[in-house]
């Protein structure tokens, strides 16, 4: 219990309550993210209904293979993240570091793919502003990408902390919360991919 008490904030609150509060807070934050992206999904729905031919023609210009690979990458990263959380809940520090590193690696691969994919689009003359479809494409994947980057920064901090023995089977709340966030990032992509790349 001592490690838990150390990490309970300076205002002297019961560690169990702190853990429950933190998780609850994280889920509330997830709700706000869903509403943020919800606006974009709403715009997508409305313009898809309004301009079905534009969506059909222009979605064919997207690179389906890279999109599919990126989807697999993110799903794998969710797996490694979940394994990381499970590991530290069993007190396995080295496994936590391993799985955090793998998750970050997958995230970086995702970003590298995105770099090439967008570069290709730009060379083809497709920018945000080229058409409403491409504006949606860049805004949705762009906002998602910002969330991936922020997620990777958070995971990097977690990784750094994991080397100081900060986490254990008694105290691993940040890892669990980071995991929830990372799964959201993955989940959003799983909706983006078919909507933008697949549905004609």
């Amino acid at each position: 219990m001592e490690e838990m008490a150390e990490h309970a904030h300076a205002h002297h609150v019961d560690p169990v309550v702190e853990y429950q509060s933190s998780k609850f807070g994280m889920w509330l934050f997830i709700a706000t993210e869903l509403l943020l992206f919800g606006g974009l999904f709403t715009a997508y729905t409305i313009y898809r209904a309004k301009y079905p031919e534009m969506f059909h023609e222009q979605h064919l210009e997207l690179n389906k293979p890279i999109g599919a690979i990126n989807t697999v990458i993110l799903i794998c990263s969710s797996l490694t993240m979940a394994l990381g959380v499970a590991s530290i809940k069993r007190g396995k520090q080295e496994l936590l570091r391993l799985f955090l590193s793998l998750t970050i690696l997958f995230g970086i691969m995702f970003l590298i793919n995105k770099y090439f994919e967008w570069g290709h689009e730009f060379r083809d003359g497709n920018y945000p502003g080229t058409s409403i479809f491409f504006s949606l494409y860049f805004m949705m994947t762009g906002l998602h990408m910002i969330h991936v980057i922020v997620g990777l920064l958070v995971l990097a901090v977690m990784l750094a902390w994991s080397f100081t023995g900060r986490f254990s089977d008694k105290y691993n709340t940040p890892i669990e919360l980071g995991g929830i966030y990372w799964h959201l990032v993955d989940l959003i992509w799983i909706y983006l991919f078919p909507l933008l790349y697949l549905i004609g």
């Binding site: 205002h11 002297h12 309550v17 609850f24 706000t32 943020l36 715009a43 502003g129 409403i132 504006s135």
Partner: protein, 533 residues
């Protein structure tokens, strides 16, 4: 403050440690509430000066002090600062932060460091908004497209500042929901909670769920200006009405973020100064939740003449009438609370009674606007300007001032001059009505809003309104001076000068860090006035 033990902390009044650094790095909810109080009051003055300039320009038709473009930037800045830097954070960030942990019997909020971060984000947003003054935007605080896409003024900085400040609102709401849900003292069941807590809870839900939508709306507006994404631009196949839907989906719940905390305040003040329990506690609690819920369903009543279908207009009008019902119930219950009470008309009570009186006018004039056929005539006229200011000033600001005067002894440990407070109140009450009541008439007579110039026939009422604004300003100034003098050489405040039963009044004035020596065990609700033991 970081490293005290509980025993040490409980001995230190929260105001004691001196020094700027100790203030802006404190995670004590009471210090953060004062930081917010000072910041939002500052921006209230800034927004208020813009308003005085607007009203001064409107003293005569044609140019009075500025040209048309400058006037348009003035009302844009006034609206933006007042909405996003004063009234939305408003009572929640200041009094909510101070009172919530105390009222529920907790030592602090659930996430104290997040609380401080919220204030930093508020300040960052405020700085960015002020920075936009280099090329002030002239779009109105509603940023309707395509004008907001085309104008050469700095829309990006202004909207980005709002975006950043929005995070402050979201995180505060998140903090309060978790705090109220998880940190209530033993025995503090939901039905024993003070109504201010219910109000804060409902407000926090709105903050968390609605604010992200303005976030994405403004982000997309910035993308329109930078990349020309076209979602809201008719020249690119986009739909300007879609922007309005996005904007109002947040901005309607936002007005309930503005009013619900004030309603909570009134529910605290009236029982104390009547020495009676609040009438109909359950109805009062559930009506707050009902208002919050329905508030998500009415946004397009801001768009009845803006291109929506007849069917949509009908639905939104109906739902708007629905939200009037829980609101009306509250007005009746507050009044009934005073029946056979022991009424003490101290300044907090004067402000609370003004709230009921003025908010009733604001709310009833909302009924005119909800009635479709009438709205066609008065939409986008001064009638709307009058309505909104009756609910925002007559409602929220009166609630804010009631709270300021009521909890002043608890927060500062001092008393202010009650006589001067009453005189200031009178100036504010009279000045407010002289400023805004004539605007209802201007509106029904056809005077549109956001007009730099106007036909000569409208001048008499505009003159009256401008004079009213000066009276209002004098009253606010007098009130502020009185409270500042109280800080400097007021009497020392007793622990519970007004005889309240609420938990925050059972600790010293001012309270110490960590609030309670021992977390209390609650056995009854806070409205036990007159109860035979």
């Amino acid at each position: 403050m970081a490293n005290h033990t509980l025993a040490e902390a409980i001995q230190i009044p929260y105001l004691e440690e001196k020094g700027l650094i100790s203030w802006i790095t404190s995670t004590d909810h009471k210090r953060i509430s004062i930081l917010y109080l000072l910041s939002i009051s500052t921006f209230f003055v800034v927004g208020g000066i813009a308003a005085l300039l607007v009203r001064l320009e409107l003293l005569t038709p044609g140019k009075t002090i500025v040209d048309a473009h400058t006037y348009n930037t003035l009302f844009t800045f006034h609206g933006t600062v007042m909405v996003f830097l004063f009234i939305v954070p408003g009572i929640a960030a200041s009094f909510g932060n101070f009172l919530i942990p105390l009222m529920i019997g907790a030592r602090d909020v659930a996430f104290p460091r997040l609380n401080l971060l919220s204030w930093y984000l508020y300040i960052a947003g405020a700085i960015i908004i002020v920075a936009s003054l280099l090329q002030p935007a002239d779009t109105g605080w509603t940023f309707y497209t395509p004008y907001s896409i085309r104008t050469g003024t700095d829309v990006i900085l202004l909207t980005f500042g709002i975006f950043v400040a929005g995070f402050s609102s979201i995180l505060t709401g998140l903090n309060f929901i978790v705090t109220i849900q998880k940190l209530r003292a033993p025995g503090m069941t939901w039905h024993r909670l003070p109504l201010f807590i219910w109000a804060s809870y409902a407000t926090a839900i709105l903050q968390v769920l609605a604010t992200p939508v303005i976030g994405i709306s403004l982000l997309l507006l910035i993308a329109e200006r930078v990349f020309g994404i076209g979602f809201f631009d008719p020249a690119k196949g986009g739909d300007p009405v879609l922007f309005q839907h996005f904007f109002w989906f947040y901005s309607h719940p936002a007005v309930y973020i503005m009013i619900l905390p004030a309603m909570g305040i009134i529910s605290e003040v009236i029982p104390v100064f009547s020495r009676k329990p609040i009438f109909g506690y359950k109805a009062m609690a559930y009506s707050l939740l009902a208002i919050a819920f329905i508030s998500f369903l009415v946004w397009a009543h801001h768009m009845f003449t803006n291109g929506i279908s007849q069917l949509a207009a009908m639905i939104f009008s109906f739902l708007t009438f629905l939200v009037a019902i829980p609101t009306a119930i509250k007005v009746f219950n507050w009044t009934a609370t005073m029946y056979r009470g022991s009424i003490d008309l101290k300044s907090p009570m004067l402000y609370a009674l003004s709230f009921i009186f003025l908010f009733a006018i604001g709310g009833l004039t909302g009924v005119f606007l909800a009635a479709l056929a009438v709205d066609v005539h008065i939409h986008d006229t001064y009638f709307v300007v009058a309505h909104m200011h009756y609910v925002m000033i007559g409602g929220t600001v009166m609630g804010f001032l009631a709270a300021l005067h009521f909890w002043y002894p608890k927060m500062t440990g001092k008393m202010f001059n009650e006589k001067v407070a009453k005189v200031a109140w009178a100036f504010i009450f009279i000045g407010f009505n002289v400023t805004f009541f004539p605007q209802f008439i201007l509106g029904t007579e056809g005077m549109p809003r956001r007009y730099y110039d106007y036909l000569p026939k409208y001048q008499p009422l505009h003159e009256l309104s401008t004079i009213g604004s000066w009276i209002l300003a004098i009253g606010l100034f007098l009130m502020a001076i009185n409270l500042i003098r109280g800080l400097l050489n007021g009497e020392k405040a007793p622990e519970n000068p007004y005889g309240s039963l609420s938990l925050e009044w059972q600790v010293p004035s001012p309270p110490p860090h960590e609030n309670f020596e021992e977390i209390p065990t609650v056995t009854d609700w806070t409205y036990g006035y007159g109860k035979k033991q």
